[in-house]
């Protein structure tokens, strides 16, 4: 007897519409989640051409009987939930019943499946949404789904797929993450004949980290584990779909209070990196909620808080964190891709994560100890709580009052939040900072446009179109916080970000030297072994020739590492590993397909960034003069290779206006 039934229309409609299949990696994600939901212990993924040509996921899970195998392709057909009430406590990874029909409609799909206690299995073939073959066959227990020619019937979509290596690296990192979340299961990922990941079951998470990333990574991680009982359960406010439903109370829906008896508990475990590890973006932060990989601002904020004063505000740790809460405590039905969640007790969860991670970090860094315990900081700002973001201001204000933490009492050793650098530049209403018209100097990598050297469009029409002559006449006065050069000329006051300015100078020089084949490089005292993730490895093999042309000499060392012997001149040996990881990560996330010119620019930008003068570095007068003169000579002095502004100008007119002289 089949297990699948079609969801009632009203439930289906409550599920936010959206596209499930964006790229090969999203297909892999859906199939993988289905296999996990099916209780499989062994999952094998085979792809070809970055998944564009072929994706095959084979599992040893519960399989499907013939009826189910057909019903699975009906829209909103699922075995995982029955009604809207179940949406409040989804315990499986899938629940929308959308994946298989969506995938089937944009590819050539073949399903082979057999439930273990059935004598024979079923084969279903679907071409662009039309079933054209259903037959009985002798098959192994479990399910194997093969997707060929993804988007063959949507050329427009197909055109937007990225280079094979890019798609492959997305798939590789996705599979890696799921493998990390399920150490008790066997995972395999093969690209054509190349085994990218083979991870047999291991005893626990740390063994899995070791298996997937190697010893170096494991050594740099601190384990975290904590439990906290919940004091209540459920929602401080109605779930969003109920608020937005004007038709009012539906009789079938449950009351405000769910079964109040056992509130359950919250658990967190996983690993966080030691303070020595500093990443320039959040891409190494992996958070799983009940086995589901998610991206969540609240959790990210909790982590930032935990690392406050341990890591500088603009760098990020490596985090692999598994949060487990009763399924009624998380709303996973936020987006079809299911990577967003809403916590029903966001504040409690936030503080729990922050305190658990902080405690683990403190324990790992004990000397010398403060005589007084560091007081906990007040909790997440309201703007970070999803309720407030949804725009329901009144509701969220009430909620905030209700659950605001008690005022911290007594003297706190906790430093005041270090002011972001941009505070110094907020001149207020009357003052206008122009030039390349960026008001914020705070380094916020997520805000930065990723494409090369496009200067932001100036807000002010009077902004000088050609900066070079102005820059050439600048006279440096000094530095602000040993990071920003203050300079003047007849036009007004200028502020130059010294790191970014030097980065720009070096970037152009490196590109020129590369073009002229005049790259200089420095041999390392001993080869530097760099471990690569499968995704990084995919990029590395694609760009290794170009890396060599840029002064790297590296060769494969074992299956997951490379040995770097020579690196571009001007880059500290300490920076080489970081630089390579960053570069490979960046290229693996690249949205457009990577052509040679772009790779060259990326490499040059990366070298420039690591060879450039840092912030917080005192500069002598002649060094500042030199830097400004060099900047004036560049082709594009207004923005750094990553698109950040280099100079700000505070014009004479603005100064006069501000002093009410005009």
């Amino acid at each position: 007897m089949g297990k699948i039934h079609v969801l009632p229309e009203h439930v289906a409609n409550k599920i936010a519409a959206g596209e499930v299949v964006e790229r090969p990696a999203s297909v892999v994600k859906e199939l993988l989640e289905n296999s996990l939901d099916a209780g499989s212990t062994r999952i094998r993924i085979q792809v070809e051409a970055g998944g564009k040509k072929l994706i095959q996921v084979t599992d040893n899970g519960c399989g499907m009987v013939r009826d189910d195998a057909l019903l699975a392709f009906e829209r909103h057909a699922t075995s995982k939930i029955k009604d809207a009430e179940d949406l409040l406590s989804v315990a499986t990874l899938g629940f929308r019943g959308e994946a298989l029909p969506s995938i089937g409609s944009v590819s050539r799909l073949r399903l082979e499946t057999r439930a273990p206690d059935e004598p024979s299995g079923t084969i279903v073939e679907i071409n662009g949404g039309k079933i054209f073959k259903v037959e009985e066959a002798g098959l192994p227990a479990g399910t194997s789904i093969t997707i060929r020619d993804l988007f063959f019937n949507i050329p427009a979509r197909k055109k937007f797929l990225k280079a094979e290596s890019t798609e492959l690296s997305h798939i590789a990192s996705l599979v890696t993450h799921y493998a990390l979340a399920h150490p008790d299961k066997h995972f395999e990922l093969h690209s054509a004949t190349n085994a990218m990941l083979v991870a047999p079951p291991v005893a626990g998470y740390s063994e899995r980290v070791y298996q997937v990333f190697g010893k170096e990574t494991l050594d740099q991680m601190i384990p975290v584990a904590a439990v906290q009982p919940l004091e209540r359960i459920g929602l401080p406010q109605p779930p969003p779909w109920r608020r937005s439903d004007p038709s009012g109370g539906n009789q079938q829906e449950p009351g405000e209070v769910l079964d109040p008896a056992p509130f359950g508990e919250m658990r967190v475990h996983g690993f966080v990196s030691k303070p020595e590890i500093q990443k320039l973006n959040r891409n190494s932060i992996y958070v799983f909620v009940n086995g589901r990989l998610i991206r969540d601002r609240l959790v990210q904020h909790a982590l930032t808080e935990a690392y406050r004063n341990i890591l500088p505000p603009t760098v990020y740790p490596v985090v692999l964190l598994f949060l487990e809460l009763p399924s009624g405590e998380v709303d996973v039905n936020v987006h079809p891709s299911k990577t967003e969640v809403r916590f029903r007790q966001g504040t409690v969860m936030h503080d729990f994560v922050r305190d658990s991670v902080r405690a683990a970090l403190m324990k790992a860094r004990p000397v010398p100890q403060f005589a007084v315990e560091i007081n906990a900081r007040p909790t997440a700002t309201p703007s970070l709580t999803p309720g407030a973001r949804a725009g329901n201001v009144a509701a969220s204000a009430a909620w905030r009052d209700l659950y605001a933490p008690a005022e911290a009492t007594g003297f706190s050793l906790q430093a005041p939040v270090p002011p972001p650098v941009n505070e110094n530049f907020q001149f207020g209403e009357a003052f206008r900072v122009e030039g390349n018209a960026a008001l914020s100097l705070a380094r916020a990598p997520q805000l930065i446009p990723t494409d090369g050297c496009t200067p932001p469009v100036p807000d002010e029409p009077e902004a000088p179109s050609d900066l070079a002559p102005s820059l050439a006449s600048l006279k440096p006065l000094g530095q602000i916080r040993e990071s920003f050069i203050l300079a003047v000329n007849h036009e007004g006051l200028w502020i130059v970000d010294q790191h970014v300015a030097h980065e720009r100078v070096l970037f152009e020089k490196i590109l020129k030297q590369r073009a002229a084949l005049k790259v200089e490089s420095q041999r390392l005292l001993m080869p530097l072994l760099v471990e690569l993730t499968p995704a990084q490895q995919a990029v590395f093999s694609e760009i290794s020739d170009e890396l060599a042309q840029n002064g790297f000499e590296a060769e494969p060392f074992g299956s997951r590492s490379i040995a770097v012997k020579i690196a571009p001149a001007g880059v500290d040996a300490t920076q080489v590993e970081h630089m390579l990881h960053e570069l490979l990560d960046q290229l693996s996330r690249e949205e457009q397909s990577i052509n040679l010119e772009k790779v060259r620019a990326r490499i040059a930008a990366s070298i420039a960034c690591h060879a450039a003068i840092k912030v917080n570095m005192p500069l002598e007068q002649n060094k500042m003069e030199w830097l400004l003169a060099e900047l004036a000579k560049t082709d594009c002095p207004m923005s750094c290779p990553h698109g950040r502004p280099v100079v700000l100008r505070y014009s004479l007119k603005d100064i006069q206006k501000a002093f009410k002289r005009i």
Binding site: E216, Q220, E276, N309, P366, V367, P368, Q369, F370, A371, V372, F411, L413, A415, P416, P418, L506, K509, K512, A516, K518, E520, S521, Q522, R523, L524, L525, M526, L528, G551, I566, A569, G570, D572, A573, T574, Q575, V576, E577, H578, A611, N616
Partner: protein, 385 residues
């Protein structure tokens, strides 16, 4: 009375002492290097003052590094307080040469009186000041101060400015019963100095210690300004201790593995030339003006009877210099970062140096031509230019 004992005897909320300005200033100046300047933790920009017996003990810490010292004082009331470090130093500097009375008032206010000058500053609760580890009672090794000072000067400059898995932001000190060795590297070059013929009691086998760069710098400046001939060194699992006279420097230990440096010490560098250190330094400085600003690459061309040095860059032009040498072997061209060589020439001081090479891909070695009391060698990796 040892300073550690004073620390534990205090904890009350009173304190009143009188010290001589000269003595206080001397110790304030000595500890300035440890006072955290850019701290986000306010207590770290304060001194901890502790009065007991006939001594005032001063402590400054930035959590990684702490310095505790003391001076004579007339102690009227024993006790402890904290005082903003920089302000106090700047103020005491300007006081006349006379006795200063320091008294703890209510709410962490501290009054400082000297002659007709009277100032009040506000500190923080003493209990906020981090507690420091105590000097171990066993395993103390005595090291001649000037030997240590000279070894730090010969290696400290080669330490990586940042820490990574591959290089440590510190140097390695190896004590053996009859020698002391110090090694530092930044992954491009390595400086190695050994002093045989010393006797270290209490050391058996090899005692290896990683010393953070900040600690080495501070140690050097303390050694620059001490009369103490011998310093005391000890460590426990997490902390290093150096006692220099009445001053005690403690440092968090570096964790990590110092690279296996023995493997990179060249053994068959058969092309050897002797150069006058000053001449080499001047020639390199001249041509390096025309090297690429980022890479600082200079080319060394070894020929019969002559060493040619050159550098060029598209922006600045090119430059060549040459030195007469006693050399008969095969010609060899090799690139180096000019700065790396200049660093060594500066550390080695006057006199002749030996440059020993193998080929364009292998490490070069520099060392003083005349053996002194130190065995000093410097390994530089070549550049590809």
């Amino acid at each position: 009375m040892p300073v550690e004992a004073i620390a534990s005897a205090t904890g009350t909320t009173t304190m009143e002492i009188t010290v001589s300005k000269a003595e206080l200033l001397r110790e304030l100046t000595a500890t300035q290097g440890v006072v955290e300047r850019k701290t986000t933790i306010p207590i770290l920009s304060n001194y901890l003052f502790e009065a007991g017996g006939d001594k005032l003990s001063l402590t400054a810490t930035d959590l990684d590094l702490s310095l505790r010292t003391s001076c004579n004082a007339k102690v009227k009331k024993e006790g402890a307080c904290t005082i903003p470090a920089r302000k106090l130093h700047d103020y005491v500097k300007l006081l006349p040469d006379a006795d200063i009375t320091i008294k703890l008032l209510e709410n962490h206010w501290v009054s400082i009186r000297c002659g007709r000058s009277n100032t009040k500053m506000v500190g923080m609760a003493r209990s906020n000041f981090p507690s420091l580890p105590a000097f171990p009672t066993a395993g103390v090794v005595k090291i001649p101060g000037q030997v240590l000072r000279s070894m730090i000067a010969k290696t400290g400059f080669a330490i990586a400015s940042e820490e990574s898995r591959y290089t440590l932001n510190g140097g390695l000190m190896v004590l053996k019963p009859e020698s002391i060795t110090m090694v530092a590297t930044d992954g491009h070059r390595l400086s190695h100095v050994e002093r045989p013929g010393e006797k270290f009691e209490g050391v058996s086998g090899e005692m290896k210690t990683l010393i953070p760069k900040k600690c080495m710098d501070e140690l050097k400046s303390l050694l620059d300004s001490t009369d103490a001939e011998v310093i005391e060194f000890a460590k426990d699992e997490s902390t290093l201790f150096f006692r220099i006279g009445q001053r005690l420097l403690t440092s968090r230990q570096l964790t990590g593995q110092f690279p296996n440096f023995e493997a990179v010490l060249p053994k068959d560098n058969n092309k050897s030339i002797t150069l006058h250190g000053d001449e080499l330094s001047q020639a390199i400085s001249r041509v390096a003006q025309f090297a690429d600003e980022r890479s600082r690459a200079v080319r060394l061309k070894l020929e019969k009877g002559e060493l040619k040095l050159s550098a060029s860059s598209t922006e600045t032009g090119e430059s060549e210099d040459s030195l007469e040498i006693d050399y008969n072997g095969d010609a060899l061209t090799i690139g180096f970062n000019a700065q790396y060589i200049l660093d060594f020439l500066k550390a080695v001081g006057a006199g002749d140096v030996k440059l020993e090479l193998k080929d364009a891909q292998s490490a070069g070695q520099l060392r003083p031509a005349e053996g002194e009391d130190y065995k000093y060698r410097y390994i530089v990796m070549p550049m590809r230019i």
